[in-house]
Amino acid sequence: MIAMPHTAVNPDLLLNPYWAEITKIKTEADGTGTLWLRFEDADVRENYRFAPGQFNMLYLPGYGEAAISISTDPADSNGLVGHTIRFVGNVTKAISHLKVGDMIGLRGPFGTAWPMEEIEGRDVIIASGGIGLAPLRPAIYHIIHNREKYGKVLLIYGARTPKDLLYPNEYEAWRAAGIDVQITVDRADETWDGQVGVVPMLFYRFRINAQKSAVLTCGPEIMIRFVIYEGLARRIPAERIYVSLERNMKCGQGSCGHCQVGPYFICKDGPVFRFDALEKYFNVEEY
């Protein structure tokens, strides 16, 4: 198969995947795990590149494809691409039964990336909830590798319960790298002595320099909505609020039509959008 440079997308064979082997599986939380994949084809393995925020279509024969964000470090891939998956849908539940050594089909990467260069020099507020931290983790790694290029960096992350928090073992390393990591849960249990409450609520606790700040947000749509309200209320302009959206996707190439929101195909014009481009459609119910 002929690959486009840096991608695992065959322009001549619609939806034909590239095979990859599962080299490692890590349980992250209840019903959520990370799969590291290694392309079978050496050329693709060598050349495949992605940017923080992009996603792949993972294919399991007999079940179909699912759009999954890449959650590992773009600068330190070792020929492996990691995906953190919530095993909740048809395809992802079937993926949860796979073992190390099993094969999975992959096409990608697709979509727009977090604006890592545009926001250099700014304070960065990363607000995410639940599985929404997965597509932001490559951005966090990028910031850590280039820490001097960014101002204050604040990560606000929330999950339903302490058991649902992703990557808990990494928070200390992120703090050590100069990121203010604030974790909250909706419902505490007996192990939890941290903050309780929803993600947007944590905005009140920080002095935010609106002129200098950019927001990156991904998570449940209701959380995103309130993160945007909080950002705009603090006079962070819509042009500096970046949102990653989720929609039904079948192709990743702006062709199948499923992911449309107004004039956009989320899979190619997104998933990462500058909020001013979305503003008109974002609050329309069921649009």
Partner: protein, 373 residues
């Protein structure tokens, strides 16, 4: 030979009996000739080998949720405005095998690479040719060229037909796609009572004509065709005012009228299946019981299907209101921003084949009448 004198863009007259020679030439050139045929009291697009396969003497009477084929009163072949099918099925087939996967120890894939059929489309109306050009923009983008569509499109021969007797649901004049065909064809026919006036649109078209007995087109014939087209423009069953589109739609996503349409719409998806420009698709796997062999297929989909917008946790558009709104605001709204054209050609199929008789031209009028926010 006379054909040496023919130029692209010139016109000739062809006796009707010579049309069989033209079809035979196309078949000898390797084309599968497909055109309108009468089947099950409607018009379908299927293989045609000779002029008599076409619906001679038929006319179709169309209205909201109504299609009637009537015969008699004339002997023309291209008068019946087509039925539910469009040419879309030949370029963007409703089912396409993409690949098979087999697991022995590991999964291996066998790509399905078809030798694309070479179709000669016989009798493509202005609205229909416009629809093909609209789908070109969706499937042949700079950043994504659909390989299935592309292979079929590149091998296509188009014999267009100027439309002289529009139906009750037609509004191509409003959409500026007809009744006169606006280019993009190999040959274009205007059917008069005794002869065909044929305009040559390409060298391929000229070659296909070369074995036919034709004569230069007289001014009389040409003006008869022009008059017919003028009359047809005046006979459009419907009109659609484009003035305030697409903003009428894209700026009014929360009008009460969307609720009102939803009371009538059955969300059956007929409108999207008959639409010659709708391009949405899905991919499905067909698997054996041991889950060791699977065949992946691309099929047509519709924004009216509830699962179309499904993501874990629910569907983005659970209500008919939001699905109808998506369809109409895409067709006559967002489409313009995406592809610099409307997603509608005025062919009227969505009106004719809607079981509830919903008429988008009337819905636009109603939306316009509602006080806007």
């Amino acid at each position: 030979m006379l054909n040496k004198m023919l130029n692209v863009n010139s016109s000739v007259t062809l006796p009707k009996s010579e049309f069989d020679t033209l079809l035979a030439s196309l078949r000898e050139l390797g084309y599968q000739t497909v055109g309108p045929r009468v089947r099950d009291e409607s018009i379908v697009y299927a293989e045609v080998e000779k002029l008599d396969d076409l619906p001679r003497g038929y006319t179709s009477e169309q209205g909201p949720a109504s299609f009637r084929l009537v015969s008699g009163g004339h002997n023309r072949y291209f008068d019946a405005i087509p039925g539910a099918q469009s040419w879309k099925q030949f370029l963007f087939p409703p089912h396409t095998n993409l690949f098979s996967a087999e697991k022995i120890e590991r999964w291996t894939i066998k790509s399905h690479q078809e030798t694309s059929p070479r179709y000669a489309l016989i009798g493509v109306r202005g609205c229909e040719l416009a629809a093909i050009e609209i789908q070109d923009r969706a499937f042949l983008r700079a950043d994504f060229r659909d390989p299935v569509y592309r292979a079929r499109r590149e091998r296509l021969f188009i014999l267009a037909v100027n439309c002289l007797h529009p139906a009750g649901t037609c509004f191509c004049a409003s959409m500026e796609t007809g009744p006169k065909v606006r280019g993009g064809y190999d040959l274009c026919v205007t059917e008069l009572d005794d002869i065909f006036l044929v305009e040559i649109g390409s060298e391929l078209g000229r070659d296909a004509l070369s074995r036919c007995q034709y004569e230069p087109a007289s001014g009389f014939v040409q003006s008869a065709a022009e008059k017919g087209l003028e009359r047809a423009t005046g006979e459009m069953g419907r009109t659609l005012l484009l003035d305030d589109l697409p903003s009428l739609l894209t700026d009014n996503l929360e009008l009460e009228h969307w609720d009102e349409v939803a009371k009538r719409c059955l969300s059956c998806a007929n409108c999207t299946q008959v639409c010659p420009t709708c391009f949405c698709w899905d991919a499905v796997d067909h698997t054996d019981l041991l889950a060791r062999n699977t065949r992946r297929e691309r099929i047509w989909d519709s924004c009216f299907n509830p699962q179309y917008s499904y993501v874990f946790g629910g569907t983005t558009r659970p209500n008919i209101k939001s699905r109808y709104r998506q369809w109409l605001t895409h067709k006559l709204g967002a489409w313009k921003e995406q592809f610099d054209t409307y997603g509608c050609t005025g062919c009227g199929r969505c009106i004719t084949w809607c079981p509830a008789g919903i008429d988008l031209t009337e819905e636009i009028v109603s939306l316009r009448e509602e006080p806007q926010v």
